[in-house]
């Protein structure tokens, strides 16, 4: 059985995580590391893809900066999205052939992880590409966006676990003006302080299972040494 390395990286700045993804991607493309998934949280940030329009961010960068939200332009497709503490971000750096099948796989994994957490969620494949992601009724709980380079995927998914939902209303998420976002905490009654830890483990397990791989937890230090062992 192949391995999926899973690294719980904690709270990591978006730009640092992006640089790490790019190094992992290069190493994966050259076959120097197995499939690897980063699970982490970002400090509050709005990331703006190449296809984002200026009016998707109606209140401007300065306004967001006042509220502690960074705005980062990324060289990826898609539009705007938000990351912040309390949202689980997963970056599987894995080899893929059929990119659509891969996205469906991520949706299935997240749906089963959410089910274990007690949230009944579903995908909306029939509603078209704009509705990629995972939904609870018609509320969006997880976003998916993937970039494939030389057969290796970067970026991945973001699940609202117990994050502050207000920032989602400050811009047009994913180019869908009328989408309502939700989170695990909002869907479940009663506070659960371990929500994030618990869900992160479930997500790691579920993605590995869908990939047909055995999960192997690696520490950030271990990952770093594996990357450093890669000849430049």
């Amino acid at each position: 059985m192949t391995e999926l390395w899973v690294c719980h990286a904690g709270l990591l700045d978006y730009r640092e995580a992006l640089a790490l993804q790019q190094r992992l991607c290069a190493a994966r493309q050259d076959g120097l590391i197995p499939d690897t998934m980063l699970l982490l949280e970002h400090p509050a940030v709005v990331t703006r893809g190449r296809r984002a329009a200026p009016e998707d961010l109606p209140f401007g960068e300065a306004w967001l900066a006042e509220r502690g939200v960074d705005v980062v332009d990324v060289n990826r497709g898609g539009k705007l999205t938000y990351h912040g503490p309390g949202q689980l971000v997963g970056y599987p750096i894995v080899a893929v052939d059929d990119v659509v099948a891969y996205v469906r796989l991520l949706e299935r994994a997240l749906i089963s992880a959410l089910a274990e957490q007690g949230v009944s969620a579903h995908a909306r494949v029939e509603d078209g590409p704009d509705y990629t992601g995972v939904w609870v009724e018609d509320r969006k709980i997880a976003s998916i966006g993937v970039h494939v380079s030389r057969g290796v995927a970067t970026h991945g998914f973001a699940v609202n676990v117990d994050n502050d939902m207000a920032p989602w209303t400050w811009f047009t998420a994913c180019g869908l003006p009328s989408v309502q976002m939700t989170s695990v905490a909002a869907e479940l009654t009663g506070p659960d302080p371990d929500c994030m830890d618990c869900f992160a483990k479930r997500a790691g397990h579920a993605v590995a299972k869908e990939l047909g791989a055995r999960q192997r937890l690696v520490t950030p230090a271990r990952l770093e040494s594996a990357l450093n062992a890669v000849p430049a």
Binding site: R51, A53, G77, G78, V99, H147, S149, R150, W170
Partner: protein, 391 residues
């Protein structure tokens, strides 16, 4: 033809998944004339929120880029052509298919037809693709077309004087204009408007109002008509609170405070409706100040989210270009919107005498799910009374 065609390599839209039929080019990494190495990324394509880099299948020089950014094409479509390293001149040899010659790459799926053959085929309604050619290399000759025309059954409709016009090939609009994709803002507005029209049972009621008093007041105050109308409207809403309301599903909420939306045009960029909260507490001057401030900040993209939310009634005011009537679309989930158009001097009859008065037509679109026409008419009558008694 030059032999360079055989050296050329096509970069095609990759098959990104079994269920994927098409993809959208999102970025080009090369331009015509660039030399690329095999496997170098030439462009990125997107489907289902997945971006995929497209590598060059071979080394060469980019001779042509056929698909622009944001264009969506089927899997297998040629995105770009690479010439061999000898500097293939693919571009010069390419002739538009309209002109009769079709580029052949590899197997001859496309056949060459002489102009004579094409003309006869068109006259006789013969499908050239179905004809076995008797010429060299299977080329279709004039005789082949004529023979096919003899044997083929005439199309059923051809003798009927009532045959429908053949659907025209989409006219080459691109000659006179250009096609662009709608901006995000336009699509949002479109979605909002369509939702309103699908949700509300919209009716529009008109009333004429004498704006002479408003014109005099505004000459004194130096303000525009809009804050005066807004103030009169707020007073009329106090009298008819059923219009200062929102309807969501079956929940009909009448609001105590008037949160007045003012539609602000952003020119080519669209339209936004900032909201003056608790407008009932403001004077004409206060309203004028708020409208000016909101409009300025809306155009500068500096509104805060709360300033575009929570509206209970909206005024739209596109009259500065002289239009006199419109049927505005209700700003959901509100139940009514007032349209203020041009104020025009007209002869009107007052007490059996003809006078010159500054007149306008007030249009109120309202949701027949929430209320009936009599209420709309009563509201307009009150509004008209308020406007005519402005001091």
């Amino acid at each position: 033809m030059s032999s360079s065609v055989t050296e050329a390599t096509d970069v095609t839209m990759p098959q990104m998944g079994v269920s994927v039929a098409e993809g959208t080019v999102v970025a080009w990494h090369v331009k015509v004339g660039d030399t690329v190495a095999a496997d170098q990324t030439v462009c990125e394509v997107s489907t289902d929120k997945i971006d995929t880099e497209v590598p060059a299948p071979a080394a060469g020089v980019v001779s042509e880029i056929l698909v622009e950014v944001e264009q969506t094409v089927p899997v297998g479509a040629v995105l770009a052509r690479l010439g061999g390293e000898g500097g293939a001149q693919g571009t010069q040899n390419r002739v538009s298919p309209e002109r009769g010659r079709v580029e052949i790459n590899g197997q001859g799926e496309h056949r060459y037809y002489s102009p004579v053959v094409r003309r006869i085929a068109a006259d006789k309604h013969v499908d050239l693709e179905r004809i076995q050619g008797s010429g060299r290399n299977g080329r279709v000759r004039k005789q082949d077309v004529l023979a096919a025309a003899e044997t083929q059954e005439p199309p059923l409709h051809i003798e009927s004087p009532y045959r429908p016009d053949e659907p025209d090939v989409p006219a080459p609009v691109s000659k006179t204009g250009e096609t662009t994709t709608l901006s995000r803002m336009r699509r949002q507005i479109g979605e909002h408007m369509k939702r309103s029209q699908q949700t509300a049972a919209t009716c529009t009621t008109w009333a004429e109002a004498d704006m002479t008093a408003v014109e005099q007041a505004r000459a004194k105050s130096g303000l525009t008509a809009l804050p005066h109308v807004a103030r009169a409207c707020i007073t009329a809403l106090a009298e008819h609170p059923a219009l200062n309301a929102t309807l969501e599903g079956e929940d009909y909420a009448v609001h105590h405070s008037v949160n007045l939306g003012i539609a602000v045009s952003l020119g080519e960029n669209g339209l936004i409706v900032p909201v003056i909260h608790n407008a009932q507490d403001l004077s004409v001057q206060g309203l004028a100040g708020r409208i000016k401030d909101l409009a300025r900040r809306a155009r500068a993209g500096q509104l805060s989210p709360d300033e575009t939310r929570g509206g209970t009634f909206t005024i739209t005011n596109p009259g500065q270009y002289g239009s006199i009537m419109a049927t505005p679309v209700i700003n959901q989930p509100q139940v009514a919107i007032l349209d203020l158009e041009a104020v025009v001097k007209r002869p009107v009859v007052i007490d059996d005498a003809i006078a010159i008065r500054a007149m306008t037509i007030l249009g109120l679109s309202w949701d027949h799910r929430a209320l009936d026409g009599v209420l709309a008419a009563q509201f307009l009558a009150t509004l008209r009374g308020e406007l005519e008694s402005v001091r």
